[in-house]
């Protein structure tokens, strides 16, 4: 990697160095303060309050015991495991299933399939309209007595009474499936833009010479495109991994009342929002902070492991 060489190299004095240092500090000052206040402090506090409890003086492991007790209990256990399962399902769907599909879709659009410009806009539509709008339209379609129900009736596809009564998003059997469908349905947009952007940066001559060598459609994808845009792919995989346990908004938007589709992120959010209605506000944040810490400890090695693995697959290529 070629680093920009500074012109001041020749007559570069310590005075010039000091001047540069002041400029750098001035440029970084506000973001740094912001980082201390809005990132470091809450994160530091979340670790310390995880070991606190309102009724007990000083250091305690109560919150962690409470979490593992609830996990092991026959009463709350199944629900807790379901919520962990749901987080993992969302991860598998958005990273393992959706990302490769989107990658391939981007390749086909990049190959200028007829109408590729229109497709690009249409596929980006969910991102333009935003998750909020998309989710509420999705909800309206799935409502009790709504269009999807009528459509399935017209096609004589049986719906069981429970589902019909509660609606697809509130019935325990179908809700998670609906969330998965929503993720796949709306998940093309942003990733597609990133992948297409990366593919467009690959120099045209590479494809032309590959063509002359008789490289086919699929081989071009796997042997040329994929290795060349691998850094971008890695970035997208890593960011998707980071969100595994924090994805609360999807549940909040689609099925906030239905425990069958709760996930870890939403579990933490619910405790957080409820905590503010109790009297000693700060103390009651202890439990969600502890749960967050536990899942952070699970998630961090996963993220860094996957990143390392991705980096090993191919060293970062510059062109």
């Amino acid at each position: 990697m070629a680093k920009p060489r500074n012109a001041l190299k020749k007559g570069y004095s310590s005075k010039a160095h000091r001047k540069e240092t002041w400029f750098i500090l001035a440029m970084l000052a506000i973001p740094f303060v912001n980082f201390l206040v809005f990132w470091l402090w809450p994160n530091f506090r979340s670790i310390t309050i995880a070991f606190e409890v309102p009724s007990i003086e000083g250091f305690t492991l109560y919150n962690f015991e409470r979490f593992f007790d609830e996990l092991a209990s026959d009463v709350t256990g199944p629900q807790m495991w379901k919520m962990i399962d749901n987080s993992l399902i969302l991860f598998v769907v958005s990273t393992v299933i959706s990302l490769p599909i989107v990658l391939f879709i981007s390749y086909i659009l990049f190959k200028k399939i007829p109408g590729y410009k229109a497709f690009r806009v249409l596929f980006y539509l969910p991102a333009i309209l935003g998750t909020t709008v998309m989710s509420q339209i999705f909800k309206s379609l799935l409502m009790t007595g709504g269009p999807i129900e009528k459509l399935l009736d017209a096609l004589h596809i049986p719906i069981d009474d429970m589902t019909r009564f509660a609606g697809f998003l509130n019935a325990p059997d179908t809700s998670m499936l609906m969330v998965v469908i929503f993720v796949l349905w709306t998940g093309v947009g942003v990733n597609m833009i990133m992948f297409t952007g990366a593919m467009n940066r690959v120099p045209q001559e590479i494809f032309e010479s590959a063509r002359i060598d008789g490289v086919g459609f699929f081989r071009e994808f796997f042997s040329i495109i994929l290795p060349l845009i691998w850094p971008t792919v890695t970035t997208m995989i890593v960011f998707s991994m980071v969100g595994i346990f924090s994805n609360a908004s999807l549940v909040l938007l689609l099925c906030p009342e239905n425990t069958a589709c709760y996930n870890v992120g939403y579990y933490i959010l619910r405790y957080t929002l409820n905590a503010n209605y109790t009297i000693r506000v700060e103390d009651t944040f202890c439990y969600p902070a502890a749960v967050g810490l536990i899942f952070t400890l699970v998630n961090v090695p996963l993220v860094f492991g996957v990143k390392k693995l991705c980096d090993r697959v191919s060293k970062n290529i510059e062109y």
Binding site: K3, A7, F38, W39, I49, I128, M194, G197, E208, M241
Partner: protein, 295 residues
Amino acid sequence: MSLRSKPSGVNLRTRTEKIILYSFFVVFLAYALTLIMPMIWTAYNSLKDARSYNEDAFKFPAFSEMEWSNYVNIFDEQSMTVSIPFAIFNTVWRSVGTVSLGIFFSACTSYVVCKYADHHRWLNWVYAFVVTIMIIPVLGATATSYNLIHNELQMANKPWLIWTSWCSGIGFGFLMQYSGWKSLSWSYAEAAFMDGASHFQVFWRIMLPMIKPIMSALFVVNFISAWGEYMDTVMYMDEWPSLGYMIYALQNQARFFGMPLYFAVIVVSMIPTLAIFVAFQETIMKNMTTGGLKG
């Protein structure tokens, strides 16, 4: 495409490739239809009255029966129980504020980290650090951030304070602009230094204008995603609700004033982002890329 200019003049697209592309065309068309149909459905149902929507949600309303007054009624606070103009106002200032500050400060941080790391080695550590904290999943902090804003800083529902939380200078914007700076030659800056320009002048007058395309692509993409934002409203700003939050919150009340009015709110909220996207499509497609995460 440049393939046309090949002297041999042969069509380089093979037969199999054509078959593959056309079969994908069919699949793509089907998928595009699943995206566009619900939008059209929403749009024409926003022009019905509540009764005819309940009777038949599929029927396209006759032109004479279209309830254009729905689009007037949604601005009536009495019938909606909430103020849509106020929500639009909030959405505008919050989206513009969070996006502009975010991009500006990430331009500052990525600029010095990229261009001054030669003389100031510690900036390489700053880069590695920024990339690392971006990929650390912070879950426990949901509760403490909430507590920070609500209780420790007393910033919740105070627009004149909340903007300070938008000046982070890290995130996706940092990555994109960093790769933008990297592809810019430093020789422009050198020339300006010779003429006696200060570091800030070089940044502001010479370098910053050159990554304008990346900044505007970032602005559009971030603006579009900020427009539908509702989570911040849930967490800190419920007295200054955004349109996204309204759409989320009104869903449960839609049975009272009728789904068509609700759909009209959705359509109104869709128009700005659609218009902006159509206008800046090319800028986005050309400039959105991050590259890898080194560090």
